[in-house]
Structures are given as C-alpha cells and as structure tokens.
Symmetry: C2
C-alpha cells in the first residue's frame, strides 16, 4: 500500500521527457518514444512533508521510487532495534532497490524535507525492460552504482578517521549537487547532525567537533545547515589525510 495519494496537483504533471532530471534518472540513454512509454507507468504523488515515510521496512515491495525534488534518507533496523542510516538520496536518485531480493523492503525511506517522489511499479518496469534493452541496462547500471557507493561507504567506515569521513561526505554532497547543475561549493544540508553521525558511524558530538575544526581551519564556512566550501583543495586533502 503506497502512501502517495493519487490526486494530481498542477505541479505533478511534469513528464519524464520534460523533467529537468531526465539525464540523471532512469530515462538516461532512452529514445524519445521509449521515455514516453516509461512515463506512462510512472505515478506522481502529492509532495511529501519532512518526516513522511516513502516506504517502510517489512512492507511488500511493489515499486521503486525516484526522488524528483527534496531529499530522502534510508534506514535499516538491526535486530536489536537500533537504526542505521544507509544513505541520503537527492533529486534524480533512485530508492527502494532493497526490496527486490525478498519481495519486502528491508529499509525504511523517510523524507528529510518537502519532497516530490515518482513511483515506478516494479512489475511494469520489468515488462518494459523486456521490450527496451536500454532500460534494462540502465536499471542494472543504477543498481551497480548503488553497490559501488555502498562499497565506498564500507571503506570509509572501515579505514577512515572522523575528519576524513566528514570531508568525504561533504565532497560527495558537493559533487552530486554539481551533477544536477547547482554550484558545488555552497549548499544546505537537508539532514540533521544526528543523521550525519549515524550515517558515518560517528556520534553527533564528534560530527560537531569536526565541523568546528574544519571551520577554524578555514576550509568551510558554516551556519547551521548552510555550508560553503571555501577551500575545496584542502577539503579533498582532508578526505585522505596522510597517515605518516
């Protein structure tokens, strides 16, 4: 059961072909008429508010979702009940892939701010993939990219110190914003310090201290969630601090 109401607001009429995220999202590398067919199966709901759930762990998996605007975090729950933030998703990025293996979502996805989400029924997508090899390949690419980013996070958690983690996190947000045509060196973080800490395997105190340190070092400017990267080179250096 999807939480997204089917009522259409004017804002929801954007078709895949017109969508500004066209070149980032699922339609990449499709022909124009193919985009039209994909567009036919995409369902666009009313914007979600901060804290609203896109899907919940344990729910039956029936669709994947594309973030059209706003931002979403995904969390998994361990057996003991504690939450692990497994990712932050920005416009053009796809969530819900975790449910394919078992037919149930293993993660929960929650809007971090007012967000528009496109819902793509999975069985329709599968059918379409059979007719459109480009779409099949694109979808596999997206899953594989997700694997690669999970593995980067694994390396981060396994090998990097707190400062390197935060620096890498900021660089990642910066690059993804840049990929969407925004400036790379200034942005608002849509998530709380606590989400960042959870994601990076740090406490919120450590996140806060590292932000302060980077600020004092003149690498970033910081006003609550508003970040300006004033010295990108130094920030990149900080993602891989020398060990000796």
């Amino acid at each position: 059961m999807s939480l997204i109401p089917k009522t259409c607001h004017l804002h929801n009429q954007t078709h895949c072909g017109d969508c500004r995220l066209h070149a980032l999202c699922l339609p990449l590398s499709l022909q124009i008429e193919e985009v039209g067919k994909l567009d036919d199966i995409v369902q666009r709901g009313r914007p979600l508010q901060k804290g609203d759930v896109v899907y919940r762990a344990g729910e039956v998996f029936h669709a994947i979702f594309a973030v059209r605007s706003g931002a979403v975090k995904t969390l998994s729950h361990s057996a003991e009940g504690d939450e692990q933030v497994t990712g932050f998703y920005l416009p053009g990025e796809i969530i819900g892939l975790d449910g394919i293996a078992t037919g149930q979502h293993t993660n929960t996805a929650i809007a971090l701010e007012t967000s528009a989400i496109c819902e793509i029924p999975f069985n329709r997508l599968e059918e379409l993939s059979i007719q459109m090899p480009n779409l099949q390949r694109r979808f596999l690419q997206i899953m594989s990219r997700e694997l690669a980013s999970d593995q980067q996070l694994i390396t981060l958690l396994s090998k990097k110190a707190a400062e390197e983690r935060i620096a890498a996190f900021l660089v990642s947000i910066s690059r993804r914003n840049q990929g969407r045509g925004l400036v790379g060196n200034e942005f608002y973080l849509p998530m709380s310090r606590s989400d960042i800490g959870n994601f990076l395997g740090l406490t919120i105190e450590t996140v806060s201290r590292v932000f302060s340190r980077l600020h004092k070092a003149g690498i970033i400017q910081l006003d609550k969630k508003h970040v300006v990267i004033s010295d990108m080179a130094a920030l990149l250096d900080a993602t891989a601090a020398e060990k000796f």
Copy 2:
C-alpha cells in the same frame, strides 16, 4: 586446505543442470530448458590456484563469475592505495557485479584457495534475460541480495564492537555453509586473519584476541583455520551484545 575434495567439482565438464549448486546459483527458478540455454553461454575455465586473480580493478567488464568451488575475496583500492576487503564469496555466489555501472571493474577478485569459477559473458546474459523473464528477475534478485549484504556490513562497521563483528562473521560463514548442505558448526576459514581484520575494520591483533576470548569462553574451538562452533546460542548472543 579446503574441506572440499579436489576430485569431482574441479573438473570443467559439470553443466549447470548437474551442478550441485543449481538451487543457489543463477539457475534458481529457471525451467529445465532455460537452464540448458544458460548453460550454453557459461564458460568454465581451469581451476584457479590460491592468489590467482579472477578479475582486476580497472579491467574492462565483460562477464560476471560464479564461484563453483573454493573461495574468493574481493577488494577495492582507495585512492591512497590501501586495500579494503569488501567480501568473501563461497560456492554458488556471484562476483563481478561491480563492473556493470561503469563498464570497468572497480574491485579486484582473488582466489583464497584452489577454486573453480564459471564465467558468464554479460552481453549474452542480457540477451538471454530478454527472452527469459525468470532469469532477469533472478539476476536482479542476486544484485539486490548483494545490496542487502553490503548494508548489513555497513551496520556492522558503523555500530558494532569487535566481538560482535567477529561473532557475526562466524555466524554468516556458518549459515552459508549450511545453505550449501554442509554442517554449520564446523568449517575451515579459507582466509587469513589479516583478510578477516581488513574486512571487519579491525587489526589482526584484535581479530586474534577476540578469537582467543571466544575460545576461552567455550563458545568456539579453534585450531588455526579450523573452527568448531561449540555453543551457537552464545555466539548468536555475542553478535548483539547488550549495551547496558
């Protein structure tokens, strides 16, 4: 030395339909004639020896691989040159999925012991998937399962103490052996302490100390790489030690 006899499963003639791993590997849920078609595209090479490379980071991606016998580790290299072990793969498991996104492998895969590997050319697999929706779905399942296991590892690295990590690691090996019809409470670890430490984000000293502790607690018996789990309940408890 592996528990797996060197006689039957290393020879190259086994077809997917006859393979004992049939129900774990890619052919799961295929019809008999479909298995035959899959079998036609699978290439079986000569057994690899310990340390041999299955594929290397940076190589052009053209195939995925199934482990038929033995064991394989995958590693990614960070920009600074240090290696991160990202997974251990046992018979019936699929490696090489990391290359789909970019067309290049981002990981390196190395045999941990004498191993037989099936090579499945990716473009042939894609073609076959279009004809065989079951195969397409199965392949997506395998990728999704990989995502889920990466996310479990992320939680492990982000939230768990050394003892919980090792316990979870042993339970994982045990379960996967059991899934292949072996006993779950006794096995040889095909990887070194250093590989385990690297994988779990611990130093080899810590790995060694935790093994000793679990041994002294009567939970496992240990003779080099030969492990006997003598108290599975206690080991499971140790994967989620109470924090207060």
